[in-house]
Amino acid sequence: MSQIVSLFQAAVYFGTVILFGAVGEILAEKSGNLNLGVPGIMYMGGIAGLIAAFLYENGTANPVPAVAILVTLAAAFVMSMIGGLIYSVLTITLRANQNVTGLTLTIFGSGFANLFGGNLNKMAGGAGQISVAFTSGVYRTKIPFLSDSTGVFGEMFFFYGFLAYVAIIVALAVKWFLNRTSVGLNLRAVGENPATADAAGINVTKYKYVATCVGAGISGLGGLYYTMDYIKGTWATDGSIEKLGWLAVALVIFATWKPNRAIWGAYLFGLLSWVYYYLPGLTRSSQEIFKMLPYVVTLLVLIVVSLRRSKESQPPASLGLAYFREDR
């Protein structure tokens, strides 16, 4: 039983990171921008949050939990939006190739974050790793009372820091925004058919910029959750954020661009990613086969979706294409 609960928890920790990444990316892709810089943006969000926490903890004698959270959230969100802004300027204004720009941004974000992460480790005393125990502790605070008084149920559903719940709320909010609001309808039109949106009086450039930058901000929170909660306020230069970032991109496809489907998809990916740890008798090499599962499942979804040819499960029609009015 405790094994199952533990696997479930691992799936939620893991899923929360990629859920943020995927929901942000869905928002960007709905505007027609295929931002492959998600891993880099998650790196940037993660390191910005860590730096902010480090500076705050070292600069204050008695850190306040609420302030620690606000400072780190703001730093991560703004830094990730800057990542999205770089991407937007290049692809929307300068009409650079989206794939190349995204991949470059991923490389940039990873290098940028590890440069500062390595230096933080040095500044933290040289002997070991940086640790922002206070802020990380705030992020990892479980839901009081419910988490320890409701038994297994509590361990499964109330055992996580607040960002895990924020991720679900954000996903549902984005779904509502896309499907139920005028601005959401306009945004979807921009990603489907920018010429039509333009003719309807929608400012295509503005929509693309805002959706890509806000989407990047949301994606970056995945990086923040990773540093604060997943690896408990430390920094690891082993590239694991990047792996999660690519899974977030895969999750967008798995969820067929629907935020609500990304929620359970994220936990499924988490489950599939960790199941090797809980299966007895696996060798180091056979473990690797199980680690492939999320990617295999994504491939299967792609095949099924392609075979069904359902119009509702397709990527936005102008995804990956730059728009300029003179083309029409």
Binding site: S182, L185, R188, A199, E312
Partner: protein, 513 residues
């Protein structure tokens, strides 16, 4: 100014690079009337209306709406003035429902009120006699439904002046009748409607007044009740002008291509060609005339193996000194391999003919890369051929290594034609070979075609300028809505005759309807 004038466009001029699309045009649109804007392809009808709907901005001239001078810089500006245009290519989002498309961009309420839209749409439909399901997705709609949706969309946005760009081009006769009924209802409601068209019988049936454009010039206007198709045709095509294009007498005519009962449907199952039959001879230039979209493209593509003609179609190709062979059911590679010597200069130079980012030699190689046995492509002979084309056709290029996209349209066309004739084809097909070219380059191309004719090749020339067709071609096949409406002798026919055949006015054609 008259009180019942809805729009007055005064001295409007619009040029695209050097081409004058509209020259000093003055046009009036009255309240509660249906005005036909009539003209051939490229006469500037759509350009003129695009300036009213905010797609283009005039170079000079004034636009008055309800007596006040206005500046229309975007489609939104036009809608604010209650002007709405239904384009030939629908501006709809495929995965949205009708209702979602209708309120797109309006931002009337922060949270979508689809029920309110449904009510408003129903009201509009009841008023004018439309039928539309607000919850139907666009990708499930027929062309006619999409058009209805476009009209409802501009009405929902409050348009009083509606411009329809060739609305019947995609409709069946029954759907056309329905559209006309709706247009009459809208007119009765006081709306002004402009219908851009080149179909004379529709002009006669639906409109109150006709304004005619030709080659960017305003020719005149007449009340529909006081005119007839013959007068309108004369206004549309104008008097024949002499171009002095050489036309050597054909000699040694041999049957080269026999097309029989060729029927082609597009992806939606709409017939693009029906029962087309004609014969092309080696040693002559066969012209293909017709309003654009009458099936010219499909015809050439079917011969080149790019279409999949219906059962019963036959395209028999008889190369000199070789067995006749059937082309239907074979793909371009197959046709090329059998060495039948078919050359094709397509309408879309960079889409189908050449690769813009590749240089001259590489583009020549597109024709020859499979020759020889070595896995390494032969670049030497294509380079020689490229040099020869540059010299013979006086192509202006910085060098053989320049990507073709950087060259001017005329030079690009010379290269394409040069490549196609270098293989000494026994059948040469050209689509709009001189479109966008200056006079001198055009004459170079005519000369090349005449050379091929003298060598005994069968040349098929699809053109849009009747004056050229009449002086260059030995015979002319006239297409109308996918059918052959007549085959005439280029030497003895008159421009008016071809014009009438193009617009469905021959007795034979009417019998088909």
């Amino acid at each position: 100014m008259e009180a019942n004038l809805a729009v007055r466009m005064v001295n409007i001029t619009k040029t695209f690079s050097h081409v004058v699309a509209n020259n000093n045009i003055t046009l009036e649109i009255r309240r509660g009337e249906i005005l036909s804007l009539l003209g051939e392809n490229g006469s500037g009808k759509t350009t003129l209306m695009n300036m009213l709907s905010g797609i283009y901005f005039p170079d000079s001239g004034q636009i008055y709406v309800n007596g006040e001078e206005v500046s229309i810089a975007s489609p939104k500006d036009a809608l604010d003035l209650h002007i709405g245009m239904i384009h030939q290519h629908f501006k709809l989002v495929d995965v949205f429902t009708a209702a979602e498309n209708i309120i797109l961009g309006l931002n009337e309420k922060a949270v979508l009120d689809l029920n309110g839209v449904r009510r408003a749409v129903k009201e509009i439909c009841d008023r004018y006699g439309f039928v539309i399901d607000p919850d139907k997705k666009v990708y499930d709609m027929s062309v006619s439904e999409k058009q209805t949706l476009e009209i409802v969309k501009v009405l929902y946005r409050g348009a009083d002046i509606l411009i329809l760009d060739e609305p019947t081009a995609v409709l069946t006769p029954q759907e056309t009748e329905k559209l006309f009924a709706v247009m009459r209802n809208m007119k009765a409601d006081g709306k002004s409607i402009v219908i851009i068209t080149h179909k004379l019988h529709e002009v006669m049936e639906i409109s109150d007044r006709v304004a005619v454009l030709r080659k960017g010039e305003y020719i005149g206007e007449v009340p529909t009740s006081q005119t007839n198709p013959q007068q309108l045709t004369d206004m549309m095509v104008g008097k024949a002008t002499t171009l002095n294009i050489g036309r050597p007498e054909p000699n040694g005519l041999t049957e080269r291509l026999i097309v029989k009962n060729l029927t082609v449907k597009d992806a939606d199952g709409v017939k693009k060609l029906s029962n087309v039959s004609f014969t092309a001879y080696g040693g002559e230039i066969l012209g293909i005339a017709g309003i654009s979209g009458s099936g010219q493209r499909e015809l050439l593509e079917a011969i080149a193996g790019l279409q999949d003609p219906e059962e019963g179609s036959s395209i028999m190709f008889i190369p000199p000194d070789k067995e006749a062979s059937e082309l239907v059911g074979r793909d371009p590679e197959d046709i090329y391999k059998s060495g039948v010597g078919l050359a094709f200069v397509p309408e879309d130079r960079f889409g189908m003919g050449l690769v813009g980012s590749m240089d001259l030699v590489d583009n020549i190689m597109l024709r020859s890369y499979k020759s020889g046995k070595s896995p390494i492509a032969d670049r030497k002979h294509p380079r020689e051929r490229a040099n020869k084309i540059v010299e013979d056709l006086e192509v202006v290029t910085p060098g053989l290594g320049t990507p073709l996209r950087r060259l001017s349209g005329g030079n690009v066309q010379k290269i394409l034609v040069g490549r196609e004739i270098a293989a000494e084809p026994s059948l040469l097909m050209t689509a709009y070979a001189v479109r966008g070219l200056d006079i001198n380059t055009s004459y170079t191309i005519y000369h090349l075609l005449n050379e091929q004719k003298a060598k005994g090749a069968a040349v098929i020339y699809v053109g849009e300028d009747l004056d050229v067709l009449l002086e260059l071609c030995d015979r002319i096949v006239v297409l109308c809505a996918g059918r052959v409406s007549g085959i005439v002798n280029g030497r003895s026919t008159r421009k008016e005759e071809v014009g009438l055949l193009m617009t469905r006015l021959s007795g034979k054609e009417n019998a088909n309807e």
